[in-house]
Symmetry: C2
Subunit: 292 residues, 2 copies
């Protein structure tokens, strides 16, 4: 019988196996580069993005095309973005996933390089797959676009800009969330669609963006209401620092309504996709109702 | 009649044309991301790496395989590395190529993102070529390896490590130069060899590493003896900061001897390559006898 928890565990185990192989094979010199790269990767987290990718690959039938490598690359990109985002000159966060952030342990200079190294290694992993043919290259290119200056980096830049200039604007907020959070989640679900020859690409890309909005809405609500114990990072920081977030802009009540709307939109999008979408539906609920 | 200056100008013009197309096509939001990316790219410099790549492509017969895209990617990678290297937590340089460094103009947070954005865009450019076939993917993978945690980033990390721990060690010095400077120059000359089906790959890779050493030797001598006017950056900084460089480790006189040895080695390596190597020879002399 299908159990969400079990299935999540299966995807997770298959991803962690790929990650372990990566740890074992990677040996950088000097040792501090090696350690700092692995420190942030090993901090874990829920691995939502790689799990989503493996699930989407099963749904669209893109299971035997090295999807684990794409999932690895995605997690490397996500982890690099957290390291750079936590830097003193960016969000200046001292904690991440319950542990001191990378720059608190290794210093800001090494943290910059750890992030650069993870990004570069992500793409090295993808270039290795590109030799297999055009679909592989197309999938890699799409992921790179999602992470880049029209994607995640644009979102981070807009976020920093609004912080520095104290801008409160709903369109900017949507631009930030769509790019900073939405694009990598979109990549998680739409890359398998490309590898499967384009099957449900548009649907899954849109699904990913909406799931990204839902993810951010819940994140912002948790930042307002959660505890350090649950979150593994300082809570209430957004308000304190007067950041532009869903909660500081719309208030918590409005956010819950908006989250319910996104929740429905995600499920409706899945209605249009053939095959067993149970796990995808459950992960939408997981994102909506999580406590950390 | 062949003239080095003219030929350099031709390669440069062809590269600048590709770069201009890149400027025109790239439009990032927010504007500060767009500006900060382009600011450092437009600072110019001698464009030695892309010029070397175009020359090497002509030598091995890899001219019609989109080599300008690889040259663009290489210059984007080089520029990102300068931006991150100049950051306060790294080398803390306020000037670069005669102008305030990126973080002095846009702030450290935006400089981190500008660097990230350039690196990501470099690989996007290469993923676009990967769809053309295996050789294209192999060439991209090699460049990525040269820039990565076994290449340039390893060199930067070792450099930072030696600075922080005040380590003076000849092997570490060679490791730093080989990776931080040598690998990208190696990529410049060896990527065309891959695109040409592997012709003279080993020779050109070694040539690139030695030319990198020569480049760094002259850089260190110029830092010791040059003026701000010639260099476009603060001179005498290495000694002041007690950095591990060729000059601080071996002294200027020994460096000149070492430079002459590398100069000869570069030329000898070219002896083994068929075709017209005049320009490559002249660029070795240019690197050896430049004043900035």
């Amino acid at each position: 019988m299908y159990s969400f928890k079990e299935k999540y565990g299966e995807y997770l185990a298959s991803f962690e196996a790929r990650l372990k192989k990566f740890y074992d094979e990677l040996e950088c010199k000097p040792a501090i580069l090696d350690e700092s790269l692995k420190y942030s990767l090993k901090s874990g987290g829920k691995r939502v993005r790689p799990v989503l990718m493996l699930a989407s690959a099963e749904l669209v039938g893109a299971k035997n095309c090295g999807i684990e490598d794409y999932a690895l690359a995605l997690e490397l990109i996500h982890t690099y973005s957290l390291i750079h985002d936590d830097l003193p000159e960016m969000d200046n966060d001292d904690f991440r996933r319950g542990r001191p952030s990378n720059h608190k342990v290794y210093g800001a200079g090494n943290a910059v390089l750890a992030g650069d190294g993870l990004l570069n290694t992500a793409y090295y992993t993808l270039f290795e797959r590109c030799a297999d043919g055009k679909l592989y290259a197309d999938a890699a290119k799409f992921m790179c676009d999602c992470a880049g200056v029209k994607g995640m980096i644009a979102g981070q830049s807009a976020d920093l800009y609004c912080s520095e200039k104290n801008i409160k604007d709903g369109d900017m907020l949507d631009y930030i969330v769509k790019n900073k959070t939405g694009k990598l989640i979109s990549a998680a679900v739409a890359v398998p669609a490309i590898l499967a020859g384009g099957r449900y690409f548009l649907e899954l890309r849109q699904f990913g963006e909406d799931l990204g909005r839902l993810f951010q809405l819940v994140d912002d609500i948790l930042d307002e209401e959660g505890s350090f114990k649950n979150l593994g990072k300082t809570s209430g920081k957004d308000k304190q620092e007067n950041k532009l977030t869903y909660v500081t802009f719309y208030g918590t009540d409005q956010c819950r309504v908006y989250a319910d709307i996104m929740f429905d939109r995600c499920l409706r999008m899945l209605d249009g996709i053939e095959g067993d979408t149970s796990f995808m539906r459950d992960i939408v609920a997981f994102v909506r109702y999580r406590e950390n």
